[in-house]
């Protein structure tokens, strides 16, 4: 888990991860790169992160990956990230490709839904919460009496 101020240096981070595991005998390394698209008049996206819970969330994923002989990694930006640059990268290493393909899919989706990160559009220098693209976390609504987990029939 790596956090950076501003855009990620994608090539350097991916290269370092590859170097770190050159001798680990993994048969598959699947990277994912999230890039800020130019749309809706934005000049950048901006991110807030709550690190203590992000760390706990990621530890859960590391344990799930370890059960399958794999490892997961990610890096994310804090603050403003201009369009056409990267705010988020992740990767899975595993002995075989199938496990890595499945894990990168599940990991990236859960990252979007449950990692404690808040996104803002930056338009004319102003930060506007991306409410329409944001998702209540699992268990949301506990202080209002209706819980997302119950509505979806999910056991916590």
């Amino acid at each position: 888990m790596e956090l950076y101020n501003g855009s990620l240096d994608v090539k350097t981070i991916f290269g370092r991860w590859l170097d770190e595991h050159q001798q680990s005998n993994y048969g598959a390394y699947i990277p994912f790169v999230g890039i800020i698209r130019e749309e809706g008049g934005i000049e950048a996206l901006s991110f807030d992160i709550y690190e203590p819970i992000l760390r706990t969330w990621f530890e859960g994923w590391q344990a799930r990956a370890a059960e399958r002989g794999a490892i997961v990694k990610f890096a994310h930006a804090v603050g403003d990230v201009p369009v056409h640059t990267s705010s988020y990268i992740s990767a899975v290493f595993s002995p075989q490709r199938r496990v890595a393909l499945e894990l990168i899919d599940a990991f990236v989706e859960d990252f979007k839904a449950n990692a404690p990160i808040w996104k803002y559009d930056v338009i004319d220098g102003k930060r506007i919460y991306a409410e329409d693209r944001s998702t209540p976390m699992e268990g949301a609504g506990v202080l209002a009496g209706s819980q997302k987990g119950e509505e979806l029939g999910v056991r916590n």
Partner: protein, 73 residues
């Protein structure tokens, strides 16, 4: 007293509240301007551990975090 912190776009400074459970905290927050409208979609952590249990007990010195809808990546 417990400390309630509001994360991300809620944009409120931390509050000190007397509450023995999350349910009592919900009562204390439901009329707070700038907070109440977030409660239906926010998740909660006690001392950085996520919980969805309205009966979860709170003790003096606990920190409760309110986490509004997220969008990482």
């Amino acid at each position: 007293m417990i400390t309630v912190e509001f994360l991300g776009p809620i944009g409120k400074p931390p509050m000190e509240v007397e509450a023995g459970t999350l349910g009592e905290l919900a009562e204390a927050l439901k009329n707070v301007e700038g907070v109440s409208e977030w409660l239906g979609t926010s998740a909660v952590a006690i001392n950085d551990a996520m919980t969805a249990d309205r009966n979860a007990p709170l003790k003096d010195g606990d920190k409760v975090s309110i986490l509004p809808p997220v969008c990482g990546g």
